[in-house]
């Protein structure tokens, strides 16, 4: 043991010294399952992948804080508090009763949802500008600009003056202040007009779900429709012209019956009425939520959430022969999917399930409220994921805008109004007035995101209805700027009244 090997004795210290001399100091972070902007946006496929998230923002029109703000604050849709269910800290009641403040989660989510999509559009436009300007890149650029304009339309509609930012980086020490609503309005109109030539005209399978000329013109018409609210100046002739551009394109037409519009088998190019489609598949992330939000637990095996209902007064405003009532479930209810489809449905106590028209806002029971089955049950539903498409713009909306524009320009519009009215199985109206247009829009576009806008434009948003008293002030026509944004951005000014 003690017979020392001098070579070992000598070499061991050398090994230690060698180890000291080796020292790694490389701290560069290596992403493996992530990409950074430096190594992306190179191929056509990657550019497509950059445009897709901008489209993804449209999903908020179907399910998310944007649509909740636009629908639950109006006189048609409500989320009753059922025992403790859907109490959710009183947030749904605050929307319905116009008692929200700047900290309400929907108010924050509506802002960040739309602005998040704007930010993605800005980054994507940067990447597209760097790319070779092929026809595809030009079309992508035009589509992204229209989408960004659409999100800004949401923002000025909900919040009034908002920061107009068209670049992907801003100075963190001097964040953007609010741009006057009319100025943003003008900018959106200019953006749409500039992008229109690069958009596709047709409504084919390839453009299903994409921004086309028709979608852009409908957006333009919708902006003009509300121009007085946004800018103080009505723009009915511009509205009419934009509607005409859609109507004369030859691409769109009303479907023969109300049920045809939403029929599952008509999804895709066969549906001549869908102008801007939020297409769905029965997959997580691209599913429809509408059936889950409204149906009773026992209506389908996926066990929906038993929430959204139609308000009593609004339900009662339909004519009894209106075909659109078929889209609303009232009274005895049935199982709608699965092996028991067609059987009577029962509530959780085992009693027959019967949806009631009259119901309280709080202490409502599980069968309270008529439900909306406008978007079909997907026969290929997996779990609760449904592929039922949703229309952000439909042709009937264009016809009704045309009617409203004609009415305001010349007292006309009865033809277009009746096209929609009689399609619902009703006798043609003999005269037109503002209330008839508003009522028709309400019944035709139930839970399609227009009701709050329509009520504001017609001066009725602050009125009392079913459970709601008259609003506590004119300021309720705008939502407050979210408190979190006022905290983060000292250059923002809260809307008056909040």
């Amino acid at each position: 043991m003690l017979k020392n090997n001098r070579i070992i004795r000598f070499s061991i210290p050398s090994v230690f010294i060698l180890l000291y001399s080796w020292s790694c100091t490389d701290l560069v972070e290596l992403p493996y399952d992530l990409v950074t902007p430096d190594n992306f946006y190179n191929t056509e496929g990657e550019l497509t992948a950059a445009v897709v998230p901008v489209y993804n923002g449209l999903a908020q029109a179907q399910w998310g804080d944007y649509i909740h703000l636009q629908s639950v604050s109006a006189d048609d849709i409500v989320v009753p508090t059922r025992g403790g269910d859907w109490d959710d800290g009183g947030t749904w009641r605050a929307l319905q009763l116009h008692s929200w403040d700047a900290t309400l989660s929907f108010v924050g989510g509506g802002w960040s949802g739309a602005f998040g999509a704007v930010a993605k559009a800005n980054s994507t436009l940067d990447a597209l500008a760097m790319a070779e300007q092929t026809d595809l890149v030009k079309t992508y650029t035009a589509e992204t600009k229209i989408l960004r304009g659409l999100y800004y339309w949401w923002l000025i509609d909900l919040y009034g003056a908002v920061p107009l930012v068209t670049v992907s980086e801003t100075d963190p020490d001097n964040p953007p202040s609010g741009t006057p609503r009319a100025e943003v309005f003008d900018w959106i109109v200019d953006e749409i007009n500039a992008a229109l030539p690069d958009l596709e005209e047709t409504h084919s399978s390839g453009s299903h779900g994409r921004i086309t000329k028709g979608a852009a013109n409908t957006l333009l018409a919708t902006l003009y429709l509300n121009a007085k609210v946004y800018t103080g100046t009505a723009m009915w002739s511009e509205c009419k012209a934009a509607c005409d551009a859609v109507m004369t394109s030859g691409v769109y037409d009303l479907m023969p019956t109300v049920m045809d519009v939403f029929a599952f088998e008509n999804e895709g190019p066969a549906n001549t009425e869908y102008i801007l489609t939020l297409a769905h598949l029965p997959l997580d992330g691209v599913t429809s939520f509408r059936h889950m939000a409204t149906l009773h637990y026992n209506n389908i095996p996926a066990s929906p959430w038993n929430g959204f209902s139609v308000l009593t007064d609004f339900y009662n405003s339909y004519e009894s022969t209106d075909a659109r009532l078929e889209q609303i479930l009232e009274g005895q209810s049935y199982v709608l999917f699965g092996s028991a489809a067609g059987d009577s449905a029962f509530d959780r106590q085992g009693n027959p399930l019967s949806f009631t028209v009259e119901f309280p806002l709080v202490d409502a029971n599980e069968s309270a409220g008529p439900r909306i089955l406008k978007w079909p049950i997907d026969p290929n539903m997996t779990g609760w994921f449904s592929g039922a498409d949703y229309a952000i713009f439909r042709y009937s909306h264009v016809l009704l805008m045309k009617a409203e524009a004609e009415f305001n320009l010349s007292g006309g519009g009865l033809v277009e109004l009746n096209q929609v009215h009689t399609r619902a199985g009703l006798d043609a109206l003999t005269s037109i007035d503002s209330d008839a247009i508003l009522a028709e829009r309400g019944h035709e576009l139930l839970w399609e995101g227009f009701r709050r806008q329509d009520l504001i434009r017609h001066g009725k948003f602050l009125d009392a209805w079913t459970h709601k008293d008259a609003s506590d002030g004119d300021h309720r026509v705008l939502f407050p700027i979210p408190q979190s944004q006022l905290d983060a951005n000292p250059n923002l000014v809260q809307n008056p009244g909040y």
Binding site: L19, L27, G83, G108, A119, R210, R348, E366
Partner: protein, 976 residues
């Protein structure tokens, strides 16, 4: 390294006897242990500065030739202090060597080295094997619970093998981890569970919720000591990872001498401590009819708690053997644990093995060590989803299920609701297969070489490898799973942790200087897939290709982070009474932003021995917390924002994070004052520590001005303070030949106070409450002036004429009527241990108490709701009282002070009585009976006050939790 700082405590006892010889040449003698007088075998003896030497024989005797009268002999032996003895012309020399560990002062592990307890200048607590609980222990953390002042270990729930929460002197962070760093035998390990997730809510609900213990692979019987670095001066040597304290675990080594074999076994029985007071069938029917609900009567009277609970039996076997020569020692161990939880089918098995080998060569100049510990474990995960999921897991459904329903139908099938939202909990436990399989291997290898006297170079290589598989099958026999045709998931997580460090250490009797370099890289990767639609349940998760529905996307991931550090330490004994120490670490982490890659973490501490029995300590240090996740400073593009265009599903890739090139560690600076005392001939020893630590650059998710791709970014803007007092005393009440009685007591208090969340954030609300109709209801607020996760909610003052709750309407931190309702953190905690030996009997018990903390009883909030029968859902018996008091049967119940309960408790944590049989066949033969969690005094109404359902940043929420058990164990220890 181990001997570096032991010169202070070196006690060499050299006995010279025999006559003085006129001439030298041959020296003989014996070497014995100073502890017990036993002869030491294989002691290395060399003539100083020569190659001449020998070792002692089996009788401890030696003969050495060629020694001259002026030579000095060096006696060295593992585990003992080296002694240098001048020959001084003698022919017979008898030497006793002093053990490094047992005699004299304790040795404290301080990170990259050890120190005598006498010289410690920081706040370091140590637990040695001898003071571990004498009962049956299966996990490391239970050794720590209630034993160390300033260290609060809380079981989050009663699930077996679940992760307890360890907090050393309070939490310092909102967005980074508050868990202490764990170092095992010098290698920092990955301290988060690798268990892949389960199915979450939706159609496949119920399987998630398991909180697997990342230290579950450790066999407590292998642990020699646990040292806890509490103040920043002590933990600053670990730099950017020391901010939450450091726990250093040292495993047992072999010793020279004859073979030693130990065997221990225990068998345990566990049962529920307390059941919740739910309505039984008669109460439910009567209450329902009183509020006008005609309940669906299933005709049975089922106590669903009884149906899912059982008396659980566990067994544990440990064998270890060790032996060694003076040059080579080893210790090997294997343990087998088969543990049942008190829920049906909740169980785990663990086989944990360890081999520690040491080898010394080249005149003791080169020391080699290899420690390998592979462990294998399986667990049946229980589907007790605690989260905010609407469907919930077993406990949610126990609470919901109509008590008039039977468990099974006449035909033997499970009784189920017509709706699939409420699920038979017995069926969930019996039908879901959810199995985790873990393989983890910890390896550390060290080599240390003494370059010149007192100067040692050391290299440590550490490898930590873990593979965790989780396979889940939810069969068609469950109605909700039948709606998707059954679903199977196979998932795997791989963890790699490569560690290398090298140190150069010089020590003499008064000075100890250390310099080192360290590199560590953590790599995590994994994959998983889920398929649905099975024609048979027979395949479980073993034939995923047999499914018909492949629409769920598979996943894989990989991420990595890296730390590089340079560090140094100087400890100097300035003449007996005064010790000073300073450390410095420069640490770089790949996680930090490009402009802030490197941080510097200094510390200084001083200890002054006023008398031999009283030492004053003062320390200051700066540490960091880098547990912020990977890639947080970069703009990253993530997938997932998809869209369907042209009938095709198109994948979107968009930025999902904003850049922060300035992102860096959270910085904690800490001042600690302490006193160590020893009174009455060391019969009473103890310490008192006071500290105040301030964490700055605390990471806060800051709202960013829009438009922005995400709403917040992580920024170093916040600040939080923790201050507290700790007290520890150990008293030897009696110590005679036949009887000894030892008591130790610890007390600690910590006050957590948020100072700032940055200029743009007034408060953060968190603690999402679980349950239907409670979406978006937050229970906790983080704001300056309050502790982390302070509960807030309405104050309930009664019921109005309509039966609605009358709630506080304005005021409170948000001005909306929600008031501060208390802190989830205790005012103080204490623990007391008594160990009594009387003849052949030993008796010990320890008591733990937590006082002044609040618990949100979220389970009550949801299941004390008067309207539950409308939904055919059961509820607590006490709801009938609320309704009698005026609460409307259909009223919504808000989060109010009614559900914020006092969580204080005093618990008899463990009682053990043992009997040691004196026999010649065994070195040791002991039988014991032990009881854990036998008695708890508390006003808390839930299962148990020691609870926490993780919800955002909040603690102290109790929601549909796995209940705690009491456990009675019988065990045997055998030593050969």
């Amino acid at each position: 390294m181990k001997n570096n700082s032991l010169f202070f405590s070196l006690l060499i006892c050299v006995l010279c006897c025999g006559q003085v010889a006129a001439q030298t040449g041959v020296v003989s003698g014996t070497v014995s242990s100073a502890d017990d007088g036993s002869m030491l075998v294989g002691v290395n003896i060399v003539v100083k500065n020569t190659d001449t030497g020998t070792t002692t024989n089996e009788n401890g005797a030696f003969v050495l030739e060629g020694v001259s009268a002026n030579d000095v002999l060096v006696f060295s032996y593992i585990g003992y202090e080296t002694a240098e003895v001048a020959v001084s012309g003698r022919a017979v020399i008898e030497v006793t060597l002093v053990s490094t560990v047992i005699a004299g002062e304790d040795v404290v592990v301080i990170g990259y080295g050890t120190q005598s307890r006498r010289d410690v200048t920081g706040a370091i607590s140590s637990l040695k094997e001898g003071s571990f609980t004498k009962g049956a222990t299966t996990d490391l953390q239970s050794l720590l619970q209630a034993r160390v002042p300033g260290v609060v270990v809380t079981a989050n729930n009663g699930d077996i093998g679940s992760e307890p929460r360890i907090r050393i002197r309070g939490g310092t962070s909102i967005n980074a981890s508050n868990n202490p760093m764990i170092v095992i035998d010098g290698v920092p390990i990955n301290n988060s569970s690798a268990l892949p997730g389960g199915f979450t809510t939706g159609a496949g609900a119920g399987a998630d919720g398991t909180m697997d213990n990342p230290l579950g692979m450790l066999n407590p019987n292998d642990i020699a000591s646990i040292d806890i670095l509490k103040d920043a001066a002590s933990s600053a040597i670990y730099g950017a990872r020391g901010g939450n304290g450091v726990i250093l675990i040292t495993t047992k080594e072999g010793r020279p001498g004859e073979l030693s074999l130990t065997y221990s076994a225990s068998t345990s029985s566990s049962s529920i401590t307390k059941k919740l007071d739910l309505m039984d069938a008669a109460e439910f029917k009567s209450y329902a009819s009183s509020i006008g609900v005609d309940i669906d009567d299933g005709g049975a009277n089922t106590d669903w708690q009884d149906e899912i609970l059982r008396s659980a039996v566990s067994t544990n076997h440990n064998i270890s053997f060790s032996a060694g020569t003076q040059q080579t020692q080893y210790r090997a161990s294997i343990s087998y644990l088969d543990q049942q939880g008190i829920l049906l089918n909740s169980e785990r098995q663990r086989i944990s093995t360890r081999l520690n080998v040491r080898h010394t060569m080249l005149d003791n100049k080169l020391k080699l060590s290899l420690k390998v510990s592979p462990s294998f474990s399986n667990r049946n995960n229980t589907p007790y989803n605690q989260g905010a999921g609407y469907f919930g897991g077993v406990f949610t459904n126990v609470l919901k299920f109509n008590p008039t329903y039977p468990v099974k139908n006449a035909d033997g099938s499970y009784y189920e609701y017509a709706t699939t939202t409420i699920r038979n909990p017995v069926a969930l436990l019996n039908e879901i297969s959810d199995v985790g399989e873990n393989l983890r291997v910890l390896t550390s290898a060290t080599a240390e070489y003494e370059l010149i006297s007192g100067l040692r170079a050391k290299v440590t290589l550490g490898l930590d490898r873990e593979s965790y598989n989780r396979n889940i099958y939810e069969p068609n026999s469950l109605p909700y799973a039948a709606s998707i045709g059954g679903q199977a998931a196979v998932q795997n997580t791989q963890r790699k942790n490569d560690h290398f460090n090298t140190t150069l250490n010089y020590s003499n009797s008064s000075l100890n200087v250390l310099a080192g370099y360290e590199f560590q890289e953590f790599t995590n990767s994994g994959f998983g897939a889920t398929t649905k639609g099975f024609v048979t349940d027979a395949w479980l998760y073993n034939n995923m290709g047999g499914a018909t529905d492949f629409t769920t996307a598979p996943y894989s991931f990989k991420n990595q982070n890296r730390l590089v550090s340079f560090f140094g330490r100087v400890a100097y004994n300035m003449g007996g009474n005064l010790n000073v120490m300073a450390t410095l670490r420069r640490e770089g982490s790949s996680r930090f932003g490009v402009d802030n890659k490197w941080g510097v973490f200094p510390s200084a501490s001083v200890g002054f021995r006023v008398t031999d029995d009283i030492k004053l300590r003062a320390s200051y240090g700066v540490t960091g917390n880098q547990e912020i996740g990977n890639y947080r400073s970069l703009v990253t593009l993530g997938s997932g924002a998809n869209a369907v265009i042209g009938g095709q599903l198109l994948a979107g890739v968009a930025a999902n994070q904003l850049a922060n090139p300035d992102l860096k560690w959270e910085t904690t600076s800490d001042i600690n004052f302490g006193v160590d005392f020893a009174l009455m001939d060391n019969k009473i020893t103890g310490s008192v520590d006071m500290y105040s630590k301030t964490t700055e650059d605390m990471l806060v998710e800051v709202n960013v001005p829009q438009p922005a791709v995400v709403t917040t970014k992580l920024d170093n803007v916040g600040s939080v303070e923790n201050s507290g007092l700790e007290f520890f005393i150990n008293s030897v009440n009696m110590s005679t030949k036949d009887m000894s009685w030892n008591t130790s007591f610890n007390f600690s208090t910590n006050k957590n106070n948020v100072v700032s969340l940055g200029k743009d954030v007034e408060y953060i609300v968190t603690g999402q409450v679980g349950g239907a109709g409670l979406s978006g209801v937050q229970s906790a607020i983080i704001k300056p002036g309050e502790a982390f996760g302070t509960f807030f909610g309405y104050e309930l003052s009664g019921y109005d004429a309509d039966g609605q709750e009358i709630l506080s309407t304005d005021g409170g931190p948000l001005g909306d009527g929600r008031r501060i309702l208390g802190s989830p953190h205790p005012d103080y905690t204490f623990g007391m241990t008594n160990q009594i030996n009387f003849g052949s009997f030993d008796f010990s018990f320890y008591i733990w108490s937590v006082q002044g903390n609040k618990i949100l009883n979220n389970t009550r909030l949801e299941y004390q709701r008067p309207s539950n029968p409308f939904n055919n859902i059961n509820l607590f018996s006490e709801t009938a009282d609320d309704v009698n008091a005026g609460l409307g049967a259909e009223a919504a119940v808000a989060l109010t002070d009614k559900f914020i309960e006092d969580g204080s408790f005093i618990r008899l944590q463990n009682v053990t009585i043992g009997y040691t049989l004196k026999t010649d066949q065994f070195k040791n033969l002991r039988f014991y009976l032990s009881a854990d969690n036998l008695l708890t005094l508390t006003d808390y109404s839930g299962f148990d006050p020691e609870v926490s359902t993780i919800s955002g940043l909040a603690e102290g929420i109790d929601y549909t939790n796995y209940p705690k058990a009491k456990t009675i164990s019988f065990g045997i220890n055998v030593g050969l």
